[in-house]
Symmetry: C2
Subunit: 316 residues, 2 copies
Amino acid sequence: ILSGPALAQTADPLPSWNDGPTKEAIVGFVEKVTEEGGPDYVASADRVATFDNDGTLWLEQPMYTQLAFALDRVKALAPEHPEWKDTQPFKAVLDNDMKTLAASGEKGLVQLIAATHAGMSPEEFQQIVGDWLEQAKDKRFNRRYTDLVYQPMLELLSYMRDNGFTTYIVSGGGIEFLRNFSEPVYGIPPAQVVGSSIETKYEVVDGKPTLLRLPEVHFVDDKEGKPIGINEYIGQRPIAAFGNSDGDYQMLDWTTSGDGTRLGVIVHHTDAEREYAYDRDSTFGRLDKALDDAPAKGWIVVDMKKDWNTVFPPAQ
Amino acid sequence: ILSGPALAQTADPLPSWNDGPTKEAIVGFVEKVTEEGGPDYVASADRVATFDNDGTLWLEQPMYTQLAFALDRVKALAPEHPEWKDTQPFKAVLDNDMKTLAASGEKGLVQLIAATHAGMSPEEFQQIVGDWLEQAKDKRFNRRYTDLVYQPMLELLSYMRDNGFTTYIVSGGGIEFLRNFSEPVYGIPPAQVVGSSIETKYEVVDGKPTLLRLPEVHFVDDKEGKPIGINEYIGQRPIAAFGNSDGDYQMLDWTTSGDGTRLGVIVHHTDAEREYAYDRDSTFGRLDKALDDAPAKGWIVVDMKKDWNTVFPPAQ
Ligand SMILES: [Ca+2]
Ligand SMILES: [Ca+2]
């Protein structure tokens, strides 16, 4: 009989991935860079892998989860802000009028973030996010958002870490929002999360030093911001990058154009039945140019419907 | 006879620290927070320790090492810039006129950084810094700068990591300058370095994505910038912080005012013979208010002369 460790060695570390060229390409890359003495060997310290979050590690439809959080926060805070009943974009949120909300554009979004993400310490914000994630549920699947993560990607994160990679989240989402759940959900500690951020101010209140989150954008970790953020926070160019939209184009391009063997992967949402099917025309997670250029760039495109035999972890 | 591991367990992990209240306070803190089931136990994931660099981990006299690098760079680049012979602050550098250079103030410093730290990719900058550190030597000690690190602090870094801490550098110095040597010298990987930075731009040159370092300040990781930087890059409040100047005041204060057992340590340079003796009147590493407030704040003040039996690692 097989003992524990021997069994672990022979068991497939990626059981939710169907056999085929996609899985082969990913496993082949990991085997190449970890083969000591091989021509493509990369030392563990340089095995940096970066993962987009929305649409790559968890659900992003019918809207980004962080946007759902902001909308719920507006509703929760509305009693303290009677003026919101007549002020956009808050009125649109309270009326569930997504069309008017969308029309408020980036200016409206910044107002929403200012009202819901600023004015408290990072610790207080963590508490608010944690409480919300604990009880909020996606309507279609009737599950918590932290349950709507992709089982194949959870396996991939573990598989890469087991092979000496350090795994980072590099997301357009808010860095402190992500840090609330990255460790328990993905096994990625707070310091290995790169994301967008607002300004923070240091102040001493009643003799106690504290940080205050300000309603001003500090860094947007999207598109060209992703390589910039990786360089700033991680300080190394990744050898593998995973994304799902044109917002990941520059991260994939910068990663895969480095010397040596590199891996670029795009999660293509092709499964309307088990999850969603969208790409070029989606408001959230638009995938257009990166899909066109993937073959020439050598990026692997995951066909969710074909390549994944499971999408979400089984309900407990 | 003692076997290897048994010997390691009984051997003093901090042999360069003399016995006395300073060493006892540091060791006592580590023992308390690692005692499973004890009242002060802290999980390994929360054992975050931050270390200032200049004057805390390595020499900062007669000037910051990064400033010595910038001055050498100006001299190396001078043949390509004949106009520097008549332009301040470059003329002052070329004339070794430190008084005029100092008078050029922050404006002059920013000009020096722009001329020596920007205009290349992060990889090219790494190469330049690495080449310089390889050959440049401190005049008084006739040793490379990376040899002029404090042996007791190297032991402390290892000791804390062996006790489940994650050790970070949090420096007013440039993040990409530090990342050149943090891993080989301190055992601290690039992603665990927080520092000051300049802006970076993403661009595609001849079809190749690349990053360009720009002559604009992005973040100053000093004074109130230290807690802000820690929150941004690490995402957790440290339970232990080590510094040597008033630039570390806010980091120490924010760290030690958190809940539970905390440790704040100040390295006081009191040894003119083996290193330097300076505090309230020093241009580099001025220590004044933090020294005054240390007793009331419960911060441990290391008396270099009394507490360290070795300052630098032995010459090889
Ligand atoms: Ca995405
Ligand atoms: Ca210092």
